[in-house]
């Protein structure tokens, strides 16, 4: 084992390959529209990355990651919406200077919890802290009472449903079912034109790699091994002197924060945020991305997200009714046949062949050396 705290050699190669794909290959081969689609898919990759730590390593299945994706996304969208709702832009409203949907709902002043979102610094802090603290509260309430497994998964679903209902119901404060649309500028910089989309894409890829590094660090620390240990023998970990609940809370919080960053990137790249990314169905879809990519593989989860989403776009364009069945079938097939997803297939079938190929190449020049060492050994006998 190497002493590097982030990755070993083959992981480094994998990360570099992903970097080449995302930074060089895709921007060069795709038009701006398709690149923006990739940017949208990658926002889910943040969620999948968090699920690798939380579900793959920690064994905590959360079916409510959409909640955190939504919280992050709404924080970002609130900032952008306020900027788009300047007095000048909204002078036709009966109360100028507040978001349009508030005006439609007869709200005449900006609610108190919207006011801090005039500050970008506050918004960035909120994107991390609001979901982080929310996850901390849910995690503490559940894990300290030893609620786990299916029960925890069901509760996260309930939270997703509750938040969706809350957002839809409080139309005047949240934009309701339509969400927050018509987001325009970030600190005066227009986020809608093509060149802005490209800049935002690269910014997102940068953030994704920061999150990959954090995930790698966690995985390679002793904490990563404790998560694996906990997944297998929770009691053994507990009776080795660890507070199992605290480790679960940590894994859940880090997954929540990753999901929230993804949500914020979604608001920036796609230009709106709505409750359709918060509820039960999107939350389960995000779990499927992780399962297809491989829940134990950080890179696998990212490829899984990209592939499933490409398939979704392709298939739902041609057969919109079939897509959901296809997705469900894919999930069942992966769970039954390839429990470790694409990464498992890669590790079991492709990697060994590559290794064999490399080692057979290497053994040829090594042959001379082996011969001489045998010759050296001969006189000693």
């Amino acid at each position: 084992m190497t002493d590097n705290r982030f990755f070993n050699r083959s992981e480094l190669i994998g990360i570099l390959m992903l970097a080449v794909l995302l930074v060089v290959v895709l921007p060069l081969t795709l038009d701006v529209f398709r690149l923006n689609l990739v940017a949208k898919y990658l926002t889910y990759a943040f969620v999948a990355l968090g699920l690798v730590i939380c579900w793959g390593y920690g064994g905590i299945l959360s079916l409510g990651q959409g909640v955190f994706f939504g919280l992050g996304g709404y924080c970002m969208a609130m900032f952008l919406k306020l900027e788009a709702s300047s007095v000048e832009n909204t002078k036709i409203q009966s109360t100028p200077g507040i978001p349009d949907f508030m005006d439609w709902n007869q709200i005449t002043a900006l609610p108190f919890f919207w006011k801090p979102f005039n500050s970008l610094t506050f918004t960035i802090a909120a994107i991390i802290l609001v979901p982080g603290i929310f996850a901390l509260i849910i995690g503490t309430a559940m894990f300290k009472r030893r609620v786990g497994g299916t029960y925890f998964a069901i509760i996260t679903q309930a939270v997703a449903a509750i938040l969706t209902i809350l957002i839809v119901g409080q139309q005047g404060y949240t934009g309701g079912i339509n969400g927050m649309t018509d987001l325009r500028t970030l600190k005066g910089w227009d986020i809608r034109p093509d060149h802005a989309k490209i800049v935002l894409y690269f910014f997102e890829v940068g953030c994704l790699f920061v999150c990959i590094m954090i995930a790698q660090f966690v995985r390679h620390s002793k904490l990563g091994r404790i998560l694996v240990a906990m997944r297998e023998k929770e009691d053994r970990v507990r009776f080795s002197g660890y507070s199992v609940a605290n480790f679960k809370i940590f894994a859940f919080c880090i997954a929540a924060v990753f999901a929230a960053i993804g949500g914020a990137m979604f608001a920036l790249n796609v230009g709106f945020m709505s409750p359709s990314f918060v509820g039960i169905v999107p939350s389960i879809e995000m779990v499927i991305y992780t399962a297809v990519g491989g829940r134990l593989s950080i890179l696998g989860a990212i490829y899984g997200t990209l592939l499933v989403n490409f398939a979704k776009t392709g298939l739902s364009e041609s057969f919109p009714e079939l897509w959901l069945f296809g997705l469900g079938g894919l999930f069942i097939a992966v769970v039954l046949a390839f429990p470790n997803g694409l990464a498992g297939i890669w590790g079991d079938y492709v990697q060994p062949r590559i290794d064999r190929l490399i080692s057979s190449r290497k053994s040829k020049p090594d042959g001379g050396w082996t011969d001489s060492s045998v010759a050296d050994g001969a006189p000693a006998e």
């Binding site: 660090f217 966690v218 620390s221 002793k222 904490l223 091994r225 404790i226 694996v228 240990a229 297998e232 023998k233 009691d235 053994r236 970990v237 507990r238 009776f239 080795s240 002197g241 660890y242 507070s243 605290n246 480790f247 940590f250």
Partner: protein, 251 residues
């Protein structure tokens, strides 16, 4: 005990311990005391409450009433991880190890440092950790298998690994639930040798059915029956106790 006589400072003092599951008293008003550096073996028929006693001491099960004093700390009020920190280590009946991790990693996780979330994130595998892991691995006969995944070990080796995971914690009280169950004769002999070696400066509480093994290691034996003590003393005394022969050894 004489009045005015200073009570002896036991390592572990269990007194009046009772636990009831829906009215069924699995352990009923149990009292016993374990000295420093003593190997105490608990024997008894199935359902006598042996494992429940260990569960109560390590905090897995909460007592209905009674007290468990360990070096004058009251364990019944502490959380599991605090009890471990106080110096109690517990081995489970089925080898409870982490199959997906290597032997080294299994031992490393049990090393008593970096047990908080932040501590685990910043934990580094330094020379002290490595030396200690190697030292314990040698003791438990797994020195050559450090980089092997634990699921590839034999049943006996898994039992040793779990004992090793406890040793690395350096507990003052070591509790072993059937450490030689399912072991071959030679493995059993090695385990007895291991236990006799690691006993120094700690007390050991063992549950075991194998009478030959009990004779090899026990300083004192406690016989449990229906959650209560039937007999207590040296192996010789217990073996010849007619009550014990009737309910347990006679079969």
């Amino acid at each position: 005990m004489l009045i005015g006589h200073q009570p002896k400072d036991f390592r572990l003092a269990v007194s009046g311990l009772t636990v009831s599951f829906d009215g069924f008293k699995a352990v009923n008003d149990l009292s016993f005391y374990v000295d420093e550096n003593e190997i105490r073996v608990i024997i008894g028929p199935n359902g006598a409450g042996k494992t429940t006693v260990l569960d109560l001491i390590c905090g897995k099960t909460k007592a209905t009433s009674g007290s468990i004093q360990f070096r004058s700390q009251e364990l019944t009020r502490m959380k599991e991880n605090e009890i471990v920190k106080a110096g109690v280590g517990r081995k489970f009946q089925n080898p409870s190890i982490y199959d997906d991790l290597t032997v080294f990693e299994n031992l490393e996780i049990s090393y008593p440092r970096g047990r908080s979330v932040f501590g685990a994130l910043t934990f580094t595998r330094d020379a002290a950790v490595r030396d200690r892991v190697h030292e314990v691995a040698e003791m438990i006969f797994l020195k050559d298998r450090l980089n092997v995944n634990a699921d590839l070990l034999s049943h006996g080796q898994k039992q040793w690994l779990e004992i090793g995971m406890l040793l690395i914690q350096d507990p003052d009280l070591l509790m072993l639930d059937e450490p030689v169950a399912g072991m071959s004769v030679s493995e059993r002999a090695k385990t007895a040798e291991l236990l006799n070696r690691i006993i120094k400066n700690r007390s050991v509480l063992v549950i075991e059915h194998d009478m030959k093994f009990v004779e090899d290691i026990a300083h004192k034996v406690t016989v449990l029956h229906q959650g209560q003590i039937l007999s207590e003393g040296t192996m010789e005394k217990v073996k010849n106790d007619p009550k014990v022969i009737e309910v347990y050894l006679g079969h």
